[in-house]
Amino acid sequence: MADTVDPRGPLEGAETARTYGNDTADDFGDAAADGDSDGETVVEAQDRFQGSQSRYQRVSEDVRRGAERARAEFQRGSERAREEFQRGSVRAREGYRHVAESARVGYDRVRTDAGRLGGEVSVFVREKPAQAVLIAAGVGFLLGMLMRRRDDDYEE
């Protein structure tokens, strides 16, 4: 891991490792020469094994913590997305209700106005029937002429 990387660079690190390997080999050689090499080699191997084991435990602990962090982040993100979605749906529902209410009010107003206008038209027509009929016919005549002219333009 981080303690095995030489900060001075790969070439110098390799050189250090080679020197350390030579020194270790010399140590083993010296220990063998001393005659009590069996006991010390076992002790060193046990130490090395324990060091590797503790390192492995540290790494697995790091991985476990990272996985827990990722899971917590994922849960937080999904919770936030769910809240945003709920908020958006509430906003959309309110907007729809507002638009529907406005449309209903507008429709009621138009219906009321149309009814009042129809009543006024009826009163006018009953009071002056000839004028009303001729005005309606004149408006229709003008509209018909305009439509005819537009149709002629399209045909040309």
């Binding site: 009826s122 009929v133 509209l143 002429m145 005819r148």
Partner: protein, 72 residues
């Protein structure tokens, strides 16, 4: 415009046996719609010729009045 003059126009245009004023008073909205639709199709089919005839009639009437005014 005078109502009696308009009544005379409609009396001349429509058949005598038809009591159009009573019909219009009894059914105001359908009568107005019927008049508008009739005017629309009339203007669409014979609009220019009717307009020409009306303008010619108005011009001749105006000329007649001017002549009367000048004493000729």
């Amino acid at each position: 415009m005078n109502d009696s003059f308009l009544d005379e126009i409609l009396d001349e245009l429509l058949p005598e046996e038809l009591d159009w004023a009573d019909l219009v008073r009894r059914y105001p909205v359908p009568a107005v719609l019927l008049a508008a639709v009739g005017g629309f199709f009339l203007g669409r089919s014979h609009g220019p010729s009717i307009l020409t005839a009306a303008s010619s009639y108005a011009a001749s009437e105006m000329a007649k009045n001017v002549n009367e005014l000048l004493g000729q």
